[in-house]
């Protein structure tokens, strides 16, 4: 390898990269088709998607993307539970004491913590988006099966499920995605972005840049879990 192209180390295993690809595809598909479903019912958006497909076809499209998302989440669960890398990554992304430390002074003071694989920002992204997606899948499925579910759950609960999954859910999704893209590409320390989503690899320069921005230092006696590779 020439000295100009720095060596790139594996940051995410193949399954994680593939899971992320499917995530991108299904979430974008769900947002689009969800917006169409919303437009059919609401005059606010000012156009009528049934000019292109019938209501049930839009619903079918939405559901199939939803199933794709659901299956990916299931795969991710199995992956973190039963594979070595998955399990280890999951332990790394669990919040721990070092996150509290990094929060001291809201991060404005330099916190003396060891280099880590994931900083607070990454952990938050993972957990917030994860919880959001799981909620979307559950509320989506309950909506899909509404005819059965309304027999068993109260009307109040259904109002929250229905309300969460609709336009508000979509808005939250958009906000989270924009935030995610900002913190991957634009945030100080991240700019001008990374290709790790493409092949799961990053260079040591990138990793150091992340860690420095997070205010992490290397303990001389420890190479740090954050070391690439």
């Amino acid at each position: 390898m020439s000295s100009e192209t720095p060596k790139r180390y594996i940051r995410f295993q193949k399954p994680v990269v593939i899971q992320h690809y499917i995530l991108m595809l299904s979430v974008l598909g769900l947002m689009f088709s969800g917006y169409m479903l919303y437009s059919i019912k609401s005059a606010e958006t000012g156009f009528d998607p049934t000019d292109y497909f019938s209501y049930s076809l839009w619903e079918q499209i939405h559901i199939w993307f939803g199933i794709l998302l659901g299956l990916t989440i299931l795969w991710h669960f199995l992956y973190i539970l039963f594979t070595l890398y998955g399990h280890s990554d999951f332990l790394h992304i669990l919040p721990n004491k070092s996150d509290l430390k990094s929060l001291i002074g809201l991060g404005f003071r330099k916190s003396v913590i060891k280099k880590r694989r994931f900083g607070l920002q990454e952990k938050l992204t993972y957990w917030i988006i994860g919880v959001y997606l799981i909620l979307m899948v559950i509320t989506g499925l309950l909506q899909y099966a509404n005819v059965y579910t309304v027999n068993y759950i109260s009307r109040s609960l259904y109002i929250y499920i229905d309300g969460f999954h609709g336009m508000y859910g979509l808005l939250m999704g958009i906000i989270l995605t924009v935030w995610h893209l900002y913190s991957i590409f634009l945030k100080p320390g991240r700019f001008p972005g990374t290709l790790s989503w493409w092949d799961g690899k990053i260079s040591s320069e990138e990793m150091n840049r992340y860690q420095e921005a997070r205010g992490e230092i290397t303990d001389e006696s420890d190479t740090g879990t954050g070391n690439p590779g």
Binding site: S42, V150, Y160, P188
Partner: protein
């Protein structure tokens, strides 16, 4: 060839002409000599077309037994007197004439004599054919075209707008022909085609539903009921029919054409086309039921007043789904189910059963949701609480993100400073 042989064609011609002329009464030949001859007429009068009569008109006319002076006063020789007495059709056709004079077409009180349609406008003047003759203007197949001579507003002088000022009397021919009654092959054998006169009557235009329908909506229902028996029986038990609806026009009820239209009668609900007519039934009901007064009276008070648009059912039917539910799914069509004023528990069971026809698992919780929803309708308290919570969540999310972004750049600034 002999001389006789050479003369034979001429002889035959003479015999033929003699026989033909012999059949027409003598007088008529005299009249037709001039009146069937356009050139001669043109020399004699300024209105040759008006006085032109085809020489063979009698072959097809029902009046072939009557000669010219049977209807026209004898003009004597030529030149004729200025005004020739005309024997009125009513002299022989007494009943028809009386009917005509009593109805809107002939009553001088309703229509000026100059513009009024006269016998000849529908029957022709000379070439009067039997109504069973397909060429007759009053044959069922041609009737619509005959009536629309005036009733379709084109730029003709005698259009219905000039005569009556009533725009609603403008009935284009193509509209009638699009209607299901005109096209339905089951009833389109010539005898049974439902065309103008079947509903409006013929001369007095009042035999059937043309008559005072405003006061007597029964006439229309009974008339349609002649064929649509079961629908009419159900409909007569229907609140729309039995309970007179008070309106500015006085007390009227809904009757068949209020939903089905009059001339363009079609079976909307099952016509799935690009116009998304699946939603039309709902639209029809909404014409009246979005009125605050009507919906207030019929117990939709609790939830706004325009039913069904924003609900799943409304969306799927308006969105063109083939399997959908609309007003009629719960309320019925001709045999309207009224839920107003009934025992609450009984209504609940009834509605659960109705939901159950499409949703076999429907149970008690089904009826706890509002049934009718509308765009922009006020939410009930629980729904608005949910909405506020989600809005608050979103606002919080955005604020935190903005703060964190500001923080990120402030940290960058601090790092650069050190």
């Amino acid at each position: 060839m002999s001389h006789i042989g050479k003369l034979l064609p001429f002889l035959l011609l003479i015999v033929g002409v003699t026989i033909t002329y012999a059949q027409v009464p003598e007088n008529d030949n005299r009249c037709l000599d001039c009146h069937s001859n356009s050139t001669q007429l043109a020399a004699l009068t300024e209105q040759p077309e008006r006085f032109h009569i085809p020489s063979d008109f009698k072959d097809q006319s029902v009046h072939n037994e009557i000669n010219c002076i049977g209807c026209h006063a004898d003009p004597g020789g030529y030149p004729h007197p200025e005004v020739l007495g005309l024997l009125q059709c009513g002299n022989c056709h007494k009943n028809e004439s009386e009917d005509y004079l009593s109805g809107p077409h002939g009553n001088p009180l309703t229509v000026s004599l100059e513009l009024a349609p006269k016998c000849g406008d529908c029957h022709n003047v000379h070439l009067i054919r039997k109504s069973s003759n397909v060429l007759s203007k009053v044959h069922v197949k041609n009737e619509a075209k005959t009536c629309t001579q005036c009733h379709e507003i084109k730029d003709q002088k005698r259009n219905i707008l000039n005569i009556t000022n009533r725009v609603d009397y403008d009935i284009p021919n193509r509209t009638i022909k699009k209607g299901i009654h005109f096209f339905n092959s089951k009833i389109s054998d010539n005898s049974n085609l439902l065309t103008c006169s079947r509903c409006h009557g013929v001369h007095s235009l009042s035999e059937k539903i043309g008559k005072n329908w405003l006061n007597d909506y029964l006439i229309e229902a009974d008339f349609c009921g002649e064929c649509h028996t079961s629908e009419t029986i159900s409909f007569k038990g229907n609140l729309h029919f039995s309970q007179k609806i008070s309106s500015l026009n006085g007390n009227i009820s809904l009757t068949c054409t209020d939903c089905h239209q009059e001339h363009l009668i079609s079976n909307d609900k099952y016509q799935y086309n690009e116009e998304k007519s699946a939603g039309q039934m709902t639209g029809k009901c909404l014409e009246c039921h979005q009125s605050v007064r009507i919906s207030g009276k019929f117990a939709q008070v609790a939830k706004g007043h325009s039913p069904n648009i924003d609900s799943f059912h409304g969306a799927s039917s308006i969105g063109g789904d083939l399997f959908f539910s609309d007003c009629s799914s719960c309320h019925g069509i001709h045999e309207l189910n009224s839920y107003t004023g009934r025992d609450k528990e009984e209504v609940k069971l009834d509605i659960i059963a109705k939901c159950g026809t499409c949703h076999p698992n429907a149970a008690a919780n089904f009826v706890s949701s509002p049934v009718h929803m509308a765009q922009g309708e006020l939410l009930d308290s629980e729904e608005s609480i949910a909405r506020y919570i989600f809005l608050a969540l979103i606002v919080t999310m955005i604020s935190l993100i903005v703060l964190s972004i500001i923080g990120d750049f402030y940290k960058l600034y601090l790092r650069k400073k050190n």
